[in-house]
């Protein structure tokens, strides 16, 4: 066996190792129920905002807390505590991904992704007056 072959093998092996490492530490998507069963794991929950219920942001008392109600894809609704400022485009968002853990009083999120009708190109969303 040649030296170059050995080194290639080492590199490939470490790549596979990295893939496994990254898989093992990867966070996954889940719904609220799954998140409820594994309280100590961080999950990404995809859902829709419930506009009927309170959407509360009171920066006077805490600029880094924002609460709202999210309905996940299974239809389960939970209160979400986002420990961040309210995203500026929140009111327009159609789909929301919250990243965090379930706790007794609701889902505590450290981060949020909002998807607007389309931020950078808008081929498909059109409102007609």
């Amino acid at each position: 066996m040649r030296k170059s072959h050995i080194i290639i093998l080492i590199v490939i092996a470490s790549c596979i190792g990295l893939v496994f490492f990254s898989l093992s530490s990867s966070e996954t998507y889940a719904n609220f129920n799954e998140s409820d069963q594994h309280r100590n794991k961080v999950y990404h929950v995809v859902g829709k905002l419930n506009r009927e219920k309170d959407i509360l942001y009171d920066p006077q008392s805490d600029a880094n807390l924002f609460t709202f109600y999210l309905t996940d894809k299974e239809g389960v609704e939970r209160k979400v505590f986002l420990h961040k400022a309210k995203p500026q485009d929140f009111d327009k968002s159609e789909q929301i991904v919250v990243i965090g853990k379930m706790q007794d009083d609701g889902f505590h999120a450290k981060d949020i992704l909002t998807k607007c009708p389309s931020k950078y190109s808008d081929a498909q969303t059109t409102e007609v007056k």
């Binding site: 170059s4 008392s61 880094n64 808008d122 007609v128």
Partner: protein, 881 residues
């Protein structure tokens, strides 16, 4: 009635017809070029049937056609011909002319045209410079152009048994053909003019009375959008050239000769694509709210990955008399750069990424088409690389077999993609059965030879590319395997990529001191020792000076990148000084080292100074989610953040952009505050697509201060800008109270105590018969909870039984008071908060100090400059003989 057609007033349909004709011509000429050039490969007869000449003519006609398409589309946009969907969607009459380019490539069709434009220019240069490679290179080039033009064909194909399929998306589609607007009344209204039904929709749209033109997304109205896409697309276009030469090499059997003409192209590609990717990072840093230079976003990654493979390919091509595994790797990496550009086009344009990316893209229905192209260009090199007809037939049979299996067992298209990767790349090596195929490497490369370590370096660079591709493809992986992996955290990217970059910079520091085909261990160790020791000394000094400088990976990367920089400086001192023309590669390496060093330092020492130190509600927060990065700043308040005192001075709305003036004050020696600088972070308002905040940054030589408005109550600045609404606001907020002495009114953020009335004139005759004449002044003390105090003194004046009142105002609190009536025991007052909104105006903001970011910018410049310098040196040397 129904047979009579509507006439649409004001439309100029000629432009669309010319444009579509040009598209057809561009497609046809690309096909002709493909035919003629492929004939020229086998038959090099001169004279009447000079295939090569015919091919050149086709390419030139093709170029004219492409330029016509672009010219017509520009004309439509500049002339605001809103009868065309593309003009309606991407421009408006109010769009400044300087953004017309940005608007042009905002859409999918425009960006494909931009790509095609660069390819036409590259193809024309290739045609006249590639000499004996021309036939093969241009044949494949013509195929690429056919595929690209088909992306804008917009032809609907009626396939039997299948639903109709739309090939490409046409930029000249008429507004009224858009099914979304088909049922709007204005498209059907008409007036009878000279017996003809005339519809005036265009006039109404142009006057913006109904469905006004969209215009360019305000968030994209900046100079980055003008310079970043063309640079990036030129880079993407340039990755094609190494692919062309590598395929031509496989096709002709000249397996190592193809590298020579490809080297300058590969390195121009490295410089331009690298510049384009970094420009994207600069855009993110300056104008987007990523809060940093690089966020490992799928879209960022998918343009970085082709650059990495191209970088690996370029370096391997440099090895003279390349053979064996080095040569194979050079070929594979050259091919994959272009394939990865196609793959990233597929990823970003097909909507597969979905919620994984901040750049959201919509599906234009081209997913299938893009996937077919990807397969085709994956299979092409293997097909052409097989020289025996029987091999080619077997290969095509295997391909069709995989396809058939996929369709038969209804395996998802993504599974086929995966299978194809294994099946299609393998035949490159199958050719080994041919006796004259890959030149065998007789003996192993010496351990201390340059090519051996270049190969290891290229392998590592590609390992990073594999890692990034894997992470970026997570949504695709999820689709194939039904897994639910979420996008990887930035910290994890940093960790894995950090380990890779550690080894890469280590090699970058040392490999140039090795010689090709030779062992020279002793000399090598001596040569690198100087820079190695210098880097160690610097890092240890850093550890002593900066207490936060403790993370082992961080320290290691700072060391290796420092070593990378110093090693190349030392190389210049030792070897280049008398031959300064050879300085290019070393400069590029120093630049790369500085990029890594700057990125690591600015990220590692980044300091969020807007952290909330008030401790409000801290006990309520779960420690794990503690996040105090955002802070609230009231208008006119001054809050200390790090070394600065920040004041939110004012907000103004100009057009659709709200500016927030924030003064940064510094404490002087005598304790007074002096303004250091002012920043204007902004919020770009867009009712349709959401509001986008844009940071503002103060640049110093050693650090940047980044300020970003994370949340504002937009209604306030809007209300201020429109006076009538302001008036309404005032009316609404007038409140009436009946007060006795020492009574208190509680307002939103203040309280008022009525301290009594005092007489300013004599009240002697109050009870007399004379008409009452008296002047009274009220005294109202306003306080807020911070301890500010002010007194409001309204006047109540009675003369000849007629009452005059004069309002008392507190500018400080923005309160106006009027005494309406004085009774025996109490008084009636009216109070309004004249600038209630403004006095209570606040922003939520973030302030971050990035140190050493200029090292990164300087590195970007050096890397691009050094690479281009080296290319120019190589080209001029060649022409001198």
């Amino acid at each position: 009635m129904e047979t009579e057609k509507l006439v649409y007033a004001g439309e100029q349909l000629i432009w669309g017809q010319v444009g579509n004709m040009a598209i057809s011509m561009a497609f046809a000429t690309a096909f002709m070029a493909f035919l003629f050039y492929s004939f020229s490969v086998k038959n090099s007869i001169k004279g009447l049937l000079d295939w090569k000449l015919l091919g050149r003519v086709s390419i030139i006609l093709h170029g004219i056609a492409v330029f016509t398409i672009i010219g017509v589309l520009f004309h439509i946009m500049i002339d605001h011909r809103f009868e065309y969907q593309y003009a309606w969607q991407h421009t408006s009459k109010t769009l400044p002319f300087k953004y017309i380019f940005a608007a042009f490539w905002e859409g999918q069709e425009g960006s494909f045209l931009l790509w095609t434009f660069w390819l036409v220019i590259i193809g024309t240069v290739l045609m006249f410079t590639s000499k004996e490679w021309e036939g093969r290179v241009m044949t494949i080039f013509a195929i690429v152009q056919m595929f690209l033009i088909s992306m804008i064909l917009g032809i609907v194909i009626d396939l039997p048994f299948l639903e109709e399929y739309k090939l490409g998306s046409n930029p000249f589609i008429l507004f009224r053909d858009n099914p979304q607007f088909a049922n709007i009344p204005i498209m059907h209204d008409f007036t009878i003019e000279n017996g003809v039904k005339v519809n005036h929709y265009l006039e109404k749209i142009s006057n913006s009375t109904v469905i006004p033109p969209r215009g360019l997304n305000p968030a994209l109205q900046n100079y980055w959008m003008t310079i970043h896409p063309p640079t990036l697309f030129l880079g993407f276009a340039l990755t094609l050239v190494p692919y062309l030469f590598a395929v031509a090499g496989l096709w002709s059997g000249k397996l190592s000769e193809w590298t020579k003409p490809a080297i300058p192209w590969a390195f121009i590609g490295i410089a331009v694509l690298g510049g384009g990717v970094l420009m994207g990072g600069a855009w993110a840093y300056e104008a987007l709210n990523f809060g940093g230079f690089w966020a490992w976003d799928p879209v960022e990654n998918s343009s970085l990955v082709p650059w990495l493979t191209l970088l690996g390919a370029g370096h391997l091509m440099l090895v003279p008399k390349n053979k064996g595994i080095n040569l194979k790797a050079a070929i594979v990496f050259s091919l994959t750069s272009f394939l990865l550009v196609l793959y990233s086009t597929f990823l970003t344009r097909s909507g597969v990424l979905g919620e994984a990316s901040v750049h959201s893209f919509t599906d234009l229905g081209m997913t299938g088409q893009l996937l077919v192209y990807l397969f085709f260009f994956m299979a092409l090199p293997s097909f052409l690389g097989l020289h025996k007809i029987s091999h080619r037939i077997n290969f095509v049979a295997i391909l069709l077999g995989v396809l058939a299996l996929g369709i038969l067992f209804n395996i998802t298209i993504y599974l086929m993609l995966l299978a194809a990767v294994f099946f299609l790349v393998k035949p490159i090596f199958v050719g080994r059965n041919d006796p004259n195929y890959f030149p065998k490497d007789k003996k192993d490369d010496p351990i201390f030879s340059r090519e051996f370590w270049l190969f290891i370096g290229a392998l590592l660079i590609n390992a990073t590319a594999v890692h990034l591709t894997y992470e970026t493809s997570m949504p695709v992986v999820n689709k194939i395997f039904g897994s639910k992996y979420a996008p990887t955290k930035i910290s994890e990217y940093n960790l894995i990529q950090g380990v890779f970059v550690l080894f890469i910079t280590l090699l970058m520091a040392s490999v140039q001191f090795l010689l090709y085909k030779q062992e020279g261990a002793k000399k090598f160790w001596r040569n690198i020792s100087r820079s190695f020791i210098a880097a160690i000394v610097l890092v240890i000094t850093g550890i002593i000076i900066f207490p936060e400088f403790r993370d082992p990976l961080y320290i290691s990367i700072v060391f290796t990148s420092m070593f990378g920089i110093l090693g190349n400086v030392d190389y210049i001192i030792q070897f280049v000084k008398k031959k300064w023309k050879l300085i290019g590669p070393s400069l590029a390496h120093i630049g790369f080292g500085m990029i890594i060093l700057g990125a690591v330092i600015s990220a590692g020492h980044k300091k969020i100074i807007s952290e909330n130190t008030n401790g409000i509600n801290l006990q309520m927060l779960n420690a794990e989610f503690k996040n105090n990065e955002n802070i609230m700043l009231h208008q006119h308040d001054t809050v200390q953040m790090g070394p600065y005192y920040l004041t939110f001075v004012n907000d103004t709305l100009k057009g659709h952009i709200a500016y927030y003036q924030i003064d940064y004050l510094e404490k002087q020696k005598d304790g007074s505050l002096k303004k250091a600088f002012t920043l204007f972070p902004k919020l770009i308002t867009n009712d349709r697509m959401g509001n986008v905040p844009e940071p503002s940054t103060k640049h110093y030589l050693t650090k940047d201060i980044f300020t970003h408005v994370t949340y504002v109550d937009l209604a306030k600045v809007k209300r201020k800008s429109s006076k009538t609404e302001m008036q309404m606001q005032v009316e609404k907020e007038t409140q009436h109270f009946t007060l006795e002495k020492n009574d208190t009114i509680f307002g939103t953020s203040f309280y008022i105590v009525f301290e009594g009335l005092e007489a300013l004139s004599s009240i002697d005759k109050v009870n007399g018969a004379d008409p009452l004449t008296v002047t009274l002044r009220g005294s109202f003390v306003v306080r807020n909870f911070k301890g500010d105090v002010d007194t409001i003194r309204p006047i109540y004046d009675v003369k000849d039984n007629r009452v005059n009142t004069e309002k008392g105002v507190s500018q400080k609190f923005g309160i106006e008071m009027e005494i309406e009536k004085i009774n025996e025991k109490d008084i009636e007052v009216a109070m309004r908060e004249i600038k209630d909104d403004q006095s209570n105006n606040f922003i939520i903001m973030q302030a971050i100090i990035f140190p050493g970011i200029n090292i990164l910018w300087m590195g970007c410049f050096l890397m691009v400059f050094g690479t281009l310098f080296a290319v120019v040196r190589r080209l001029t040397k060649k022409s001198n003989g």
